[in-house]
């Protein structure tokens, strides 16, 4: 089978295989941060950057360190540690050199450490046997896909807050989950259009 074109993979990760809407990963920050468009955008941008970098980084760690030494079964703990260290490093750098960005991202940046979409992307990268360039494309694509989903939902939620009269029990996460389900249903129609593995 021909290797998948990284560009194809990039678009597939955004639309047909959106990590949030088809794999339902990263739902926790998705639910809690989608109340307002501004914070959704900040969280989304941080996810794009960290997901792209850690997927590529973990690809290197996996194929250059773990595989040659026969330690693939340690990939969970190693990936998690790499992600945590990377996020920490990024936070320090952003705080020191881009204070404006640091303040606008606020607590979203460190929260990414425990965003399961990030870890998920690294695991998919291994399961689907992506090479470095593919991993990078997949990482960036998944990040943008996640951002797209959270921006879409936060726009809908903002509109709902202004206009809709929801029953008390449906407010907040409940209605968000229902809308997410509907959105996911729409995205489901794309599934299988593009081969990702």
């Amino acid at each position: 089978m021909d290797p998948i074109n990284p560009l194809t993979l990039f678009f597939a990760a955004i639309f047909t295989n959106n990590i949030l809407l088809t794999n339902f990963l990263g739902l926790c920050p998705f639910l809690s941060m989608s109340g307002r468009k501004k914070s959704a955008l900040g969280m989304g941008a941080a996810v794009v950057f960290v997901m792209a970098s850690t997927t590529a980084l973990n690809n290197l760690v996996h194929y250059k360190v773990l595989v040659p030494l026969g330690l693939e079964h340690f990939r969970f703990i190693v990936f998690i540690v790499v992600i945590a260290a990377f996020v920490q490093l990024v936070e320090m750098t952003v705080e020191r050199f881009f204070p404006a960005l640091y303040f606008s991202l606020g607590i979203f940046l460190p929260l990414i450490t425990v965003n399961c979409a990030i870890f998920g992307a690294s695991l998919f990268m291994v399961i689907r046997k992506y090479d470095f360039v593919q991993s990078l494309a997949y990482g960036v694509g998944s990040g943008i896909g996640w951002m797209l989903a959270i921006i879409a939902i936060s726009s809908i939620r903002e509109k709902l807050q202004k206009t809709a009269k929801l029953p008390k029990g449906l407010e907040g996460p409940a209605i968000t989950l229902i809308i997410t389900g509907l959105l996911a249903l729409a995205f489901l129609a794309f599934s299988g259009m593009i081969r990702v593995q």
Partner: protein, 367 residues
């Protein structure tokens, strides 16, 4: 077997490399160099940037109150950050009202010193310091109360406080304690004396600190104390003053009286001082001579446990009885109450019944 060791080594190695990387990053990236903190537009501090403002100030000997130790949960450490604080953080917003945010109030434990700052803090906070003190006098005032005088060794300029405030005295670890312990004691000395303070320490059954002071402390011992603290202090006014004290509660009252004597403040003052028996009375001579030197000062001692055949000439009963008896309804008075919580509470009750404005009642509960 080798596989096990190799795995452990490799995984540890990866962890070590990452830790090393972060350590370097912390050293080089998070190096904010020296930052200036301008306090109240007059005092300038140079600190190493990178730590929260609360701790930077603490290192410089400025103690902002904090109960949670910088975790951002008690909201005691509010200061005004005029310049360089950056936007209010999500960790602060729950503790800051809209007015406070408008006013540049921030939680100093959350604001990191990244660049030069200009801040504003209450002048009083400058006065809170850590002092090294030496025991100069230890005297049994009553069988259960010791008067101690502490001379300040460091810092040289001594202590500045308002009459009625307290300090925290720390005693070292000894037989009955597992770590150094500190307790609050009101100062009895007048504030014009900056180099020495006097405390009255009552012996508390099984009290770690009071037992140490009564049985282990010696002259010339050195101790550490912090202060001054507290909002129970003399308030200037031209109303008459009623002072109520029991036991060691006399300490802040003595400080206020000694201050008024030195400054020749001529207000009408009545002091109700209650103890159980005559043996528990102290400072009697001084109070009597103050009565002569402050013409409008009246000292009224009362004993709560005295037999009918005792030669005691003064009042009998509790201080609350004296209020009932001597204080007219709705009198326009500043009231200072100091002593056990039970005594303070029952006094407050009686005063409320008398219709005395609670705005002018100040109290300090010794527990």
């Amino acid at each position: 077997m080798t596989q096990f060791i190799v795995s452990i080594l490799i995984i540890s190695g990866i962890g070590a490399v990452l830790a090393l990387l972060l350590e370097f990053a912390d050293r080089f990236i998070a190096d904010y160099g020296e930052c200036q903190i301008m306090i109240n537009r007059e005092k300038e501090l140079k600190v190493q940037g990178g730590s929260p403002l609360l701790f930077s100030l603490q290192d410089e000997g400025i103690f902002i109150p904090s109960a949670c130790g910088g975790k951002g949960t008690c909201a005691y450490c509010k200061v005004k950050v005029l310049e360089g604080g950056g936007p209010v953080l999500p960790t602060e917003t729950p503790y800051l009202s809209a007015d406070e945010q408008e006013d540049n109030v921030r939680l100093s434990c959350q604001v990191k010193v990244r660049n030069d700052l200009a801040i504003e803090i209450p002048e009083d906070l400058f006065l809170i310091k850590e002092f090294k003190v030496r025991v100069e006098r230890l005297e049994d005032l009553t069988p259960y109360i010791k008067g101690i005088t502490l001379a300040i060794v460091e810092p040289e300029e001594g202590i500045t406080f308002k009459p009625g405030q307290y300090i925290q005295l720390e005693i070292p670890k000894y037989k009955l304690s597992s770590a150094p312990e500190f307790r609050a004691f009101s100062m009895a000395s007048f504030p014009e004396e900056h180099q020495k303070i006097e405390l009255y320490v009552g012996l508390v059954e099984k009290g770690i600190v009071s037992t140490y002071i009564h049985n282990y402390l010696k002259k010339r011992d050195e101790l550490v104390m912090r202060g001054p603290f507290g909002d129970f202090y003399y308030q200037e006014s031209d109303r008459g003053i009623l002072m109520i004290a029991t036991g060691t509660g006399l300490a802040p009252i003595m400080s206020i009286l000694r201050h008024m004597h030195r400054e020749q403040i001529q207000q009408k003052i009545t002091l109700f001082f209650g103890t159980r028996s005559e043996d528990d009375m102290y400072c009697v001579e001084e109070l009597k001579s103050l009565e002569k030197e402050l013409p409008r000062f009246t000292y009224v001692p009362t004993l709560s446990r005295v037999s009918d055949d005792s030669p005691w000439q003064g009042e009998r009963g509790r201080v609350t009885d004296l209020i009932e008896e001597h204080i007219p309804e709705a009198a326009d008075l500043d009231v200072y109450i100091c002593g056990s919580p039970e005594m303070v509470d029952s006094c407050l009750e009686v005063l409320e019944k008398k219709g005395i404005s609670e705005d002018n009642i100040y109290f300090d509960k010794f527990s």
